[in-house]
């Protein structure tokens, strides 16, 4: 193992993480909801009466973030995205992420941030599992194929 010092951004990543933590905290304490993106989005696809408005408001805020972010935050703080996967990999990945997060009741935000923060055994198991799966896939793609 060697460290990729060229891309390592401890401070902006820590600060970004703090913002994710603050957002999740405000959401549970004021809105009474777990901030889990896959759950919030998935709930719209199978709508129940009175359970859609809050999801839409949240997602609109998420959607507005890059637009308002580029206006109010210095550009140097944002990483230029490196998207190297081809279209077919992107499509397969999308299917896996969509189905997997709903089947497993959460993603990086719901299990990873909120679940670990509330010390949930289920979320710890899920987080370890999806991280391990990610390590294995990246190892296979980058070092075996």
């Amino acid at each position: 193992m060697e460290i990729d010092w060229n891309h390592f951004t401890p401070w902006t990543s820590l600060l970004g993480g703090v913002l994710l933590g603050v957002a999740s905290s405000v959401f549970i304490l004021l809105s009474g909801r777990i901030l889990g993106i896959s759950g919030i989005l998935g709930g719209i696809l199978n709508p129940r009466k009175g359970d859609v408005g809050w999801r839409i408001s949240f997602l609109l805020g998420l959607f507005a973030a890059p637009w308002l972010g580029y206006i109010f935050m210095p550009e140097s703080l944002f990483q230029t995205p490196r998207i190297e996967s081809g279209m077919s990999s992107i499509a397969i990945a999308g299917l896996l992420v969509g189905f997997g997060t709903r089947y497993g009741s959460g993603c990086t935000s719901g299990h990873g941030v909120c679940g670990l923060s509330r010390l949930s055994i289920r979320s710890m198991a899920a987080t370890v599992t999806f991280m391990l799966a990610g390590f294995v896939i990246v190892y296979v793609l980058k070092h075996l194929l």
Partner: protein, 145 residues
């Protein structure tokens, strides 16, 4: 209306956090998952920052019976590690490693006009719809995260 505004601003804040943290850069996510290659540990700092804040909020939330605004507090009660949780997390992790996108950052990247993120989100929503359509075959009793 107050609630809708809070949800919007929480979504916005969460989106800012994702942009700042580097989670919206698939190359950075894959760099983190590439532990046996040129490793970028930044995402560990994202998790640390988020959980450091979240721990306090969720400890507080567990003691409360309603939110600070007097509304219902939805904390998951189900705590069994079951097959759907683990298989779902495995599929999600595989997709996450394949493309470097998880649901939140994919939506933010779609909003900033990344065409590959748009393809990812379309297939992700399709994967979620497949789950919704056939959930009775996959899961006998639906559980929240």
């Amino acid at each position: 209306m107050t609630h809708r505004l809070i949800e919007f601003f929480v979504g916005l804040l969460f989106g800012f956090g994702l942009l700042l943290s580097g989670m919206t850069d698939p190359g950075k996510v894959i760099g983190f998952l590439d532990v046996f290659g040129n490793w970028d540990p930044s995402l560990a700092f994202v998790m640390a920052g988020a959980i450091a804040i979240g721990l306090f909020a969720f400890a507080l939330a567990k003691k409360k019976t309603s939110t600070f605004l007097g509304t219902e507090l939805h904390l998951p009660k189900y705590n069994k590690i079951d097959k759907p949780l683990l298989v779902g997390a495995l599929l999600f992790g595989a997709g996450w490693g394949l493309a470097g996108f998880c649901p939140g950052p994919a939506i933010v990247s779609l909003a900033s006009g990344q065409s590959k993120a748009a393809v990812f989100v379309i297939f992700m929503v399709f994967g979620m719809l497949v789950f919704e359509r056939f959930s009775q075959f996959f899961i006998e009793k639906r559980s929240n995260p």
